[in-house]
């Protein structure tokens, strides 16, 4: 049983992403915005398992998270697929300290990418109304999300990479 948990650690953590996404702890937020939780899992997973795995699990994550949100017209899938593929091409750095900061930067970039793709969908959908009222709140969301994701990534991603590598070895 213990061995099963050790081997499937990454999948068990994967199951918890939608739960933390739903939980939405406000005390961790900034301007009402949360860090983009799925990237914290996707980065270690894609770095260890490669681009194709990253892409597939980006799609899976997108499907699950889209099912939890009520916005039928907008999807998180494009951003997560792109991030999954991109993260798979990154190799881990030998210097631990540099590695930590790299996770922060990479996740910030990923969050920026996902946020921009999401905002693009919203603006495209509301383009016919000429409704650019959504542009400023959207940019605020992206900036807050990028900041928080970059802040938390060094702590969470480093731990997850260590755990996933350990579970792979066993």
């Amino acid at each position: 049983m213990n061995k099963f948990f050790t081997k499937k650690l990454s999948i068990i953590v994967f199951i918890f992403i939608p739960i933390i996404f739903l939980w939405h702890p406000n005390w961790l937020g900034f301007l009402g915005v949360q860090p983009y939780w799925p990237l914290f899992w996707l980065l270690p997973w894609a770095m260890i398992n490669g681009s194709i795995n990253g892409l597939v699990f980006g799609l899976f994550l997108g499907l699950i998270l889209d099912s939890l949100t009520l916005d039928n017209n907008f999807s998180q899938i494009p951003g997560l697929i792109f991030c999954g593929f991109l993260f798979g091409r990154i190799k881990s750095h030998s210097d631990i300290l540099v590695g930590h900061f790299r996770y922060g930067l990479i996740c910030s970039f990923g969050s920026f990418l996902c946020g921009t793709l999401y905002l693009a969908q919203i603006l495209f959908r509301n383009f016919s109304d000429g409704n650019f009222l959504m542009f400023i709140p959207g940019v605020k969301n992206i900036l807050a999300e990028v900041f928080l994701t970059g802040l938390f990534a060094p702590f969470i991603c480093s731990q997850l990479i260590r755990m996933f590598k350990f579970s792979r070895r066993n």
């Binding site: 739903l22 939980w23 939405h24 406000n26 937020g29 301007l31 009402g32 915005v33 949360q34 949100t69 009520l70 916005d71 039928n72 017209n73 907008f74 946020g115 999401y118 919203i122 509301n126 109304d129 409704n131 009222l133 959504m134 400023i136 709140p137 959207g138 605020k140 969301n141 807050a144 999300e145």
Partner: protein, 249 residues
């Protein structure tokens, strides 16, 4: 030598009692000049618990509340009776379901709350959700035990609303921030900051006359329409309990 000491200790200004009396005299002079302000202030503090006004204020407030409540009930009954006569849409208090908020996303991209009552408890898609203050949103999705509500602030939310003062209909569109936009498709629409916005009596999606918010600012830059920002009365980021209203169409 001894005589000199006796004489000096016998002077009136060497007597302590005299100085005490002098001090008291000065104090009384001060009291007289200040017209007893010290006494009055002291009395203010010690008599505070026994002021008649406090009790009286409570009684008046209580009776005013009771009067308002009775008047509200009478108006409500009147409203229901008139709506029955005119065969208009109704909402009944008997069909309300109380639910707790178990997950909330009130900032960022997704503006929704999840409630602890679902299809098992009779919640239907499209039901109206209100909280202390007024309208919060509409049920968009139900599971067996939970239901998800699209908030008025969500970019997905579009509802017909009513400006009470000028009696005009408008469209309330969520813009992804805390203040949804009210769009009035007429440049001449009469709207002012501070106007009260409620659900439209003509709406087929919502029960009529549910308070929504107050006009916060008006943008008149567009050629064909007026846009106003609305400050919502119900605050979804603070509310823990809500009411789900069933719509009788």
């Amino acid at each position: 030598m001894l005589n000199i000491r006796r004489i000096s200790s016998g002077r009136w200004w060497h007597k302590k009692k005299i100085w005490i009396f002098f001090g008291i005299f000065l104090f009384l002079v001060f009291v007289r000049i200040s017209k007893g302000s010290l006494y009055k202030d002291f009395f203010y503090f010690i008599s505070r618990p026994f002021w008649p006004g406090q009790f009286q204020k409570e009684v008046i407030l209580k009776s005013t509340n009771q009067e308002s409540l009775i008047r509200l009930n009478l108006l409500n009954k009147d409203n229901i009776r008139l709506r029955e006569i005119l065969s208009l849409q109704q909402s009944s208090n008997n069909d309300n379901i109380s639910a707790a908020v178990i997950s909330r996303k009130t900032g960022g991209w997704w503006r929704q709350i999840t409630l602890n009552k679902g299809s098992n408890h009779g919640v239907e898609i499209g039901s109206t959700v209100t909280g202390p203050g007024g309208l919060l949103g509409r049920v968009n999705n139900t599971s067996f035990f939970t239901s998800s509500v699209t908030l008025l602030t969500s970019p997905e939310s579009k509802l017909g609303v009513w400006v009470d003062r000028s009696q005009i209909n408008g469209l309330l569109v969520g813009s992804g921030d805390d203040h949804p936009s009210l769009i009035l498709y007429s440049k001449k629409a009469d709207i002012k900051v501070g106007d009260f916005v409620s659900s439209s009596p003509a709406s087929s999606l919502l029960p009529p006359n549910i308070p929504i918010g107050i006009v916060k600012s008006i943008d008149e830059t567009s050629q064909s329409k007026k846009t106003a920002k609305i400050s919502l009365l119900a605050k979804p980021h603070l509310i823990d309990w809500v009411q789900i209203l069933k719509l009788n169409i």
